[in-house]
Symmetry: C2
């Protein structure tokens, strides 16, 4: 059996607590002979800054590059609000994405039936929701230059960021979306602001041309990003796969995640290009939620998104869809049994700790 080299980055806040549950699941899978993991751990974010003044060290970057998959929890917190921009916690995450060339961020927004009632939306609007947001992750305004603050004198400064997209960047992310759509509902909605942005015009043209050339069997729509935000709130089930740029994807995937009722449930995958020789691709898996500093250290965080991130790794990096599905089924099962961490409990419902939730999921697997 192949050994999968995992590089774990617990990060800040609740990160270490939820990551402990991933280790528990990985240990169980190894012991029970269902998969074999070799685990290394490193530092990213505020904890890395505290340890050595960088949001991620070169040594940990090298380990991330060498791993079969990186599993990251979350970075950041008020403690590091005033550290210099270049070494702020998020810089570690952004460096991982950029240096590993993880251009494709997959963010499923699914609604667990047992949790439909914890959404702020009406049950009929979100029951059965299953959409996949494919977000471009290494381009756009996140990385374009110039990106700077200029001192203009007289107390005036100028902040500049640059949104840049090349044809090839748009094509490769659109390709990911079309390929994934073929395995799902066969529909892609591409989103930009072509009515005000030139990068949006190019995005629209490039996706349209690629669709015509290679994916005419997939249904393609275009929707302006502001309209898409509204439609997500109005009737999210109209979507199958949504493909959009880095910044719009950041916002829209968060809105989509919140529709489902709990952010604590949703994992994401960030993938690089597949190496034609080895058939492998660099990958990083992380929950959609943040580091939740307000509840860190209390043992009450929800580990489900974190464990579901390992399931995603099994599906996308290790070609073990059955095992991924088994973990996901175990998650559904414990939810159906009524197990709730505080974030997903209805008023008056009993809650369990982070580790009790992890134990229950292991028991179900």
């Amino acid at each position: 059996m192949a050994t999968h080299k995992l590089f774990l980055l617990p990060g800040d806040g609740i990160g270490p607590e939820v990551m402990a549950e991933v280790e528990k699941v990985a240990a169980f899978l190894t012991e029970s002979g269902q998969a074999r993991f070799e685990i290394e751990k490193g530092l990213v974010g505020g904890c890395a800054y505290d340890a050595h003044g960088q949001a991620i060290s070169d040594a940990d970057m090298a380990r991330a590059q060498a791993a079969d998959a990186v599993i990251l929890a979350a970075v950041g917190g008020p403690k590091w609000d005033d550290v210099p921009y270049e070494v702020r916690p998020e810089a570690g995450l952004l460096r991982l994405r950029k240096d590993m060339a993880l251009f494709a961020n997959l963010r499923p927004a699914i609604c667990y039936p047992a949790l439909a009632s914890s959404s702020s939306l009406k049950p009929e609007v979100i029951e059965g929701l299953d959409i996949l947001i494919v977000r471009e992750l290494t381009g756009g305004v996140y990385f374009g230059e110039p990106k700077q603050i200029i001192d203009l004198g007289n107390g005036q400064k100028r902040g500049i960021d640059t949104q840049v997209y090349d044809t090839f960047e748009i094509e490769r992310i659109a390709r990911v979306a079309f390929e994934l759509a073929r395995q799902r509902g066969n529909r892609v909605t591409s989103s930009e602001k072509r009515n005000v942005m030139k990068s949006g015009v190019l995005w629209n043209q490039t996706v349209t041309a690629l669709h015509k050339r290679d994916y005419a069997d997939v249904k393609l729509d275009h929707m302006l990003a502001d309209a898409l935000g509204m439609q997500l709130v109005r009737w999210p089930k109209q979507f199958d796969v949504i493909v959009t740029d880095n910044l719009f994807g950041d916002m829209l995937s968060d809105v989509a995640a919140m529709l489902t009722g709990s952010l604590g449930m949703l994992p994401s995958a960030s993938l690089g290009e597949t190496d034609v020789k080895t058939g492998t691709r660099k990958a990083l898996y992380e929950p959609v939620h943040g580091s939740a500093p307000d509840i860190a250290g209390k043992g009450i965080a929800n580990p489900i998104a974190m464990i579901a991130s390992l399931a995603m790794a099994l599906r996308y990096s290790f070609h073990k869809p059955d095992l991924a599905a088994r973990i996901e089924a175990a998650i559904s099962a414990v939810l159906d049994q009524g197990m709730r961490t505080a974030d997903i409990a209805a008023k008056g419902e009993a809650t369990v700790s982070t580790s009790a939730m992890g134990d229950a999921i292991v028991a179900e697997i």
Copy 2:
């Protein structure tokens, strides 16, 4: 009694239909001696392009500049999808905003009690909702240069947009937000992506410094734009006034509008700087909804946002808050009576036409 010079721009799609109801209300107010309007009309958007190849003519721009208030309905539609970027319908709207220096866009998201059930959100989440989004409207990625598509050869192009904010632009919009907050719940939430954007860093610093200097009595929070998108969905009533940049404001105000159940209900104001000598300011009022080409010409569009835009003009441009409130009360009253255009009708509910809704509102005033 002062005469208010209105410049009406019905634009495209349902624009002319809903604008006719504004004319009805304005005529009634004039006849009944409650206000005096002098009305001119012009072209903007696709209809302007069809008439003379420009999204708005210089002559109409001059009329807009000379008016006491511009009332615009909506622009755009599939008919003009392929016109050159520089003369696309939206260019008319953007030119109005830029040339009139309408830097402050006020987008109230309120929930009409009679319509709470038509929202996709649970009633308890949106009942009584009353938030105000203050969006910067003449800067950011909408107008920054370079903004272009470059041909790189080899079939590759590069799309570039530039987000630019100067200290003074951030200060003046934040000032508007703080001033308005003092008249409401006294709380401002400022939103950007300072964790990835330098303009966000400058935004955050500038708002913080201004707050300390001149508005320490107002409660100020900062929230990342993606987190704000989520929080709007989760529990929108936590907000009072939100201040944010042009692009984030575009998306967040649309999401906020959709929370309330019907976009057809919500007006917006775009304001310039107050002239210290005359005490007047340039202003444009428009509904949040678009031109809805799919239902244009059928006489079924909802004119309420359009009529509410006139009410906003009475409040912000003509210092007639009582008359504004009377119109808003008339809108609430007809809704309480059960009058519904198709967009806000529950399944099986009887619907009325655009003009019947306008008549009913006039009758209530």
